[in-house]
Structure formats: C-alpha cells, structure tokens
Amino acid sequence: MMLAALALLLLPACATAAGLLVWGLYRHETLDDGALLRHFLIFLVASIAAAWGIGRTEAVQFRLHPELRIQAEIDAHPVYSTLKRLAPDDATSLLQTLVAQTATGVSVPEAFLRARPLLTAMTTTRSAWVDQETRLMWGRHVTNSLKELQTQHPELCYRALSGQNLDAQKFSQVFSPGNTREFQQAVVRVYESAGLGMRYNGHPGDVRADYNEAAAEYQVIKDEIEQRFGAAVAANFSNKTFPEVPAAPPDQVCAARIYQLGAMMKRPKAMAARLVDSALR
C-alpha cells in the first residue's frame, strides 16, 4: 500500500522538484520554449535518477521493506550466523521460529528470547559432539539458568528441565540479561565445538571416562538425591523422564536437578563431562 502510494507520488514529486529548480535558476530571465522544455526535462531526469539512487540505499530499503531489515538483523545475530554456517538445518528451524515470532510484531532480539526453548533443545542435541570443556560449560550454564528459574518461577523451572509445554513468551521474560547473553555465547560455543568434533571424529585431547565407572558414579549421585529429596523425586532421575504433572513438588525436582548437575561437575573433568552429558541428553 505504502509502496504503491510512493510509486504514484514519485513522478509528481520529481516534476515538482524539476519545476522549482527551473523556476529558481531562471526566474530572472525569459527562456524560449525549446530551452524551457530542455531544462525542465534535464532536471526531471536528474530528479528521477536522484530519487532512484536514494531509493536503493539500505536505509530507505529497510524502511520500505521491513522484512529486509528483520532478515538483516537475524543474519547479523551471532547465534543465527553460527547455526547457518555450521548447521543449516537447525538454522532453517530457527529462522522459521524467528519469522513466526516477528510476524506477530515482536522485535528480533525478543524473537531470539522466545526461541530459547528451541535453541536449548537443538544445542543439547549438538552437545553430543562437543569437547569435555564445552560440555561442562554447557552444564554450568544449564545449572545457572535453572537456579534463576527456581528463584523466580519453580513451575517454569520444572517445565524447562522436563522440556514440556514451555510458554515461549513467559519463558523469555524470566531470564536476566546476563543469563541471556551467557546462553547465546554458550550456544555459539557448543555449535563451534560440535562442528570440530564432527569434522575430526571427536576431540583428540579428550580422555573418555570408563562407562562402568560413570554408571557407578551416576548411581552414587542418584542415591544422594534420594536421601536428600526423597524417592519420588529420585525416581525422575533414574528413568530420566519427567511427567507432565510432576510427582513431587516442582521446586523439589528443580532443586534436585541443580544438585545433580552440581555434584556431577565436582568430579574430575572426564567423568564430569560424561555424567553431565548423560544427565542432559
């Protein structure tokens, strides 16, 4: 609508500019008809060329086509650009979510906030290929995020750890700006590390913890959870499923998850990384 109106007004505006220029420059002299027509046409063509040139600038294009500005903002975002470079399929899923969110009128940064549940799920899947340091960093970030949620919204904390029925809008509002920044940096780091892991078939510097030892450590931590939080809470951690309606108070389950991840990360690096991976994926 706006574009059509602008196109309709372009020629009259250029003709007015040409008329004013000719009038301004030659108002004290009388031009013959040929000269008047020639000058008017020269200024008209110059005005049209100037209008066309201005119309092609990025600032004007972004005003005329808001979708271009949104796409440029999305392209410039470090999370999206990383996904586009290293995981095009994930980038497509993210883009679809972002476009759907921006279509409702929210800004691009807000759309990224609302895409956090999707990004969390995709990043957790990617964390299978990361090095141990990055895996522990992701575990620390998940723990910090759960702590923030627990203090503000225990119900949401439970939904976040179980990955169920997350209200994107509500979820986007509870995290601090610092946590959001940390989350986006963590996502980028996980994708970078996973990219290297996939390319070189693992990370040569990492020494894998023994499976049986890891299983025994997992059991030790689970027993500690049972002692501290009760059998009902511990049951969630033994089969790694969290029912939609929590069997125990959500804040208890949330606290147990924070305890579990904290206890795991106190182990030596290789063991901690293996346990965190097992708990989160």
């Binding site: 309709l8 009259p12 031009l31 027509l37």
Partner: protein, 114 residues
C-alpha cells in the same frame, strides 16, 4: 489581426492538437496498463512519451496564448500529477478553443480544422 498574433494563434492551434492527442493517448495507455496485455516497460515508455508530448503541447498553447514563464512551468509540473493532468490539459484546451474561435478559426473535436 496582425502577423504576430496570427503566428501566436497558429502556435496555440498546433499545441491544442498535441494536447488533444496526448489526452487520447493517456486514455489508451491507461487501458493498456489495466489490460495487462502489454509488457510493463512498454506501458511505462508510452506514459513517458505521452507526458513529453503533453509538455510540448502545454508549452505551445501557453506561448500561443501569451502566458508567462511561471504559468508554463506550473502547467508542465501539473502534467505529471495523475488526474490533475487531465483537468489541466482540458482547461488549457478550453482556453485555446475560446481564443481560436474568437479569432475566427473553426475548432472541432480534434482541434482546428485545416
């Protein structure tokens, strides 16, 4: 009527013919545009050609009727405003017809009859 007046009226008569043809061209190109049967760039080129033709007609009528340079410029600018251009062209055409008839010319639908 002296020779100079005769030349001016002759100029107005030629301008009037051009204006009348440009009004007709306006309608024809408008119909072409709406029919979508002709490529858009052809329609744009025809619109531009019609506008230049109208300018030529406007200048000649204005000169023939002894109008000022500012008046000519105003009419040239109005020739690029949708709908207003038709009103301006018809207004100039009426003025030209009135003057030509007063001078004894036989003016028809397509201007002065030769």
């Amino acid at each position: 009527m002296n020779e100079s007046d005769e030349q001016l009226l002759s100029l107005a008569a030629r301008g009037q013919k051009i204006v009348i043809y440009s009004i007709l061209m306006n309608f024809i190109v408008g119909a072409m545009d709406r029919s979508h049967a002709v490529p858009a760039w052809v329609v744009q080129a025809l619109f531009l050609g019609t506008a230049v033709l109208a300018l030529l007609g406007v200048i000649r009528i204005c000169s023939g009727l002894g109008k000022s340079q500012n008046y000519k410029l105003l009419m040239m600018v109005l020739a690029f405003f949708p709908l207003v251009n038709l009103v301006a062209l018809v207004y100039l055409n009426i003025q030209a017809t009135r003057n030509l008839r007063a001078a004894g010319y036989d003016v028809g639908l397509l201007g002065v009859k030769s």
